[in-house]
């Protein structure tokens, strides 16, 4: 009978393989939300939000409908400016230390850096090609070679290239729901933002399309900081590194996703993630 010595087995090496790719390095803070109060007219929508969001990570906002998670998301690229009567009564949001609501911050420039993907996929009724380069066209880019390159890079980035490369000049509305949503993601990354906000990007998609978008989110976080609002607890669990739970306009709990789903610190969080309310 043969014996092998203890040191030569793979068991001792097994622990050097990190089981979670991103747990290893420490993340930098990119967005700081401080004492943030937000109003729709006289109605307060967000109460004293304090939150630090990590760079190149996926952060999920969860909570029941009307809890303010989408509102906060839309504050990050000032989409709420477009709604009449909204106001920030206290606190602010800083991205890389710059207050996004400062006088010298142009919301147009901000939105080029902070892209957004919407709940309902909204490809424009143009060709796939024109959809992707819309942002660049707006910025006045006319160099055909550059536009072609951006289209390919963005569509590849959105894992859509292989599916549409033969019909770039057909309407974007001819795509399936999941493809449309990925087209919207391609359109967003074409202007090379730093942050991508996703407002329930999969709520209208079937499970396979959802899985593809989630897969994509996992890929995108190598290059972008992603903040995703979702109603699906599984989605938050699968995709995100950190999760923030909101309820009635307040931030109830913010922690590693694993902690939120394993050992939430707040009974309300536990009740929500276990499906007892919301």
């Amino acid at each position: 009978m043969e014996t092998s010595s203890a040191s030569s087995t793979p068991a001792s090496r097994a622990f050097q393989v990190p089981s979670r790719a991103t747990d290893g390095q420490k993340a930098q803070t990119l967005i700081e939300i401080e004492n943030f109060d937000f109003y729709y007219g006289a109605k307060q929508a967000l109460f004293d939000i304090n939150l630090k969001l990590d760079d190149k990570r996926v952060t999920a906002f969860i909570g029941p409908s009307g809890c303010g998670k989408s509102t906060l998301l839309r504050c990050l690229n000032r989409m709420n400016d477009l709604i009449d009567g909204t106001s920030i009564k206290r606190g602010g949001i800083k991205i890389r230390g710059v207050d996004v609501n400062a006088r010298d911050v142009d919301s147009i420039e901000l939105r080029k850096r902070v892209g957004m993907v919407f709940q309902k996929s909204n490809p424009f009724p143009k060709s796939i090609y024109e959809n992707v380069i819309y942002g660049l066209r707006i910025q006045g880019e006319t160099n055909k070679a550059k536009l072609d390159a951006v289209v390919e890079k963005s569509l590849r980035g959105a894992a859509l290239w292989d599916e549409v490369k033969d019909r770039l000049h057909e309407s974007g509305l001819g795509l399936s729901g999941g493809q449309q949503q990925r087209l919207c993601i391609a359109r967003t990354i074409a202007v090379s933002p730093e942050i991508i906000l996703m407002d329930e990007p999969c709520s209208a998609l079937d499970p396979i399309a959802t899985a593809k978008v989630e897969e994509l989110i996992h890929e995108l976080k190598k290059e972008f900081t992603i903040i995703i609002v979702t109603h699906s607890m599984q989605q938050a669990a699968r995709c995100s590194d950190k999760t923030a739970f909101f309820y009635m306009g307040k931030l109830i709990e913010y922690a590693d996703t694993r902690t939120i789903f394993m050992n939430p610190g707040n009974p309300q969080t536990e009740a929500y993630v276990s499906g007892r309310f919301g």
Binding site: S4, S5, A6, T9, P10, A14, V17, A211, E219, R258
Partner: protein
């Protein structure tokens, strides 16, 4: 379709495989330490038990994380549950090996009671059972797993035979009692290892066919 967290399952599987290998190696080393009266090897076996303990914790951690965040269903769910159970069995195997090694250290200073024939035979059957059970994990061969379960009676028979034999030693010559008792416990440990191998085999049947064959002899025969 590939998913980004498929690699987590791969890691989980490979950890379980490594644990199986480690447990088999431990059984082998413990037996060798006993037969060769090799104290140093016995000490190494005792020390190496930490490896199994760490692997069990790591596998549990991965399983819990997977269930927590990935909401597994069907085969994945069975894999995660079976992995947790099997890792526990393998950890118990490791504990039995530690016991054997400790007793081997004590027996090393004394003259052998009789030549080691039955115990290595028994241990080799147990090792084979463990290996077969782990093979089932790799290949999903349920027939092999059922064969493992059936072989358990061989080990039990040898154990009983050794028990009688060692009892008669003690009756004939009370001076042999200590050594005979040590050997009896070692035999019992090997028998326990075979039981764990059986459990693992049963779990592998559950993994492959989602069929619980525990305590149902009519299923084991088929």
């Amino acid at each position: 379709m590939k998913r980004f967290f498929d690699s987590e399952l791969e890691t989980f599987r490979s950890h379980l495989m490594i644990m199986g290998e480690t447990a088999i190696r431990q059984v082998r080393d413990a037996l060798k330490a006993l037969v060769d009266a090799d104290v140093a090897l016995a000490d190494r076996v005792i020390a190496a038990d930490d490896e199994l303990d760490n692997l069990e914790m790591s596998i549990d951690d991965e399983a819990i994380r997977y269930m927590n965040l990935r909401a597994p269903v069907a085969t994945e769910l069975r894999l995660v549950i079976v992995g947790m159970k099997a890792s526990h069995d393998l950890e118990r195997v490791g504990d039995e090996c530690t016991t054997i090694a400790k007793r081997a250290v004590r027996l090393a200073g004394e003259p052998p009671l009789k030549p080691y024939v039955d115990i290595p035979r028994m241990a080799n059957i147990a090792i084979e059972m463990l290996r077969e059970a782990m093979d089932c994990f790799m290949h999903g061969d349920t027939d092999k797993a059922l064969a493992v379960v059936r072989r358990d009676s061989e080990v039990d028979a040898i154990n009983k035979q050794l028990y009688r034999e060692l009892s008669s030693f003690m009756i004939e010559d009370p001076k042999t009692t200590t050594r005979a008792l040590e050997l009896m416990f070692i035999s019992k440990s090997i028998e326990r290892i075979a039981d764990h191998a059986c459990n693992i085999a049963e779990e592998m049947v559950f993994l492959a066919k989602a069929q619980d064959i525990r305590h149902r002899d009519e299923l084991k025969k088929s």
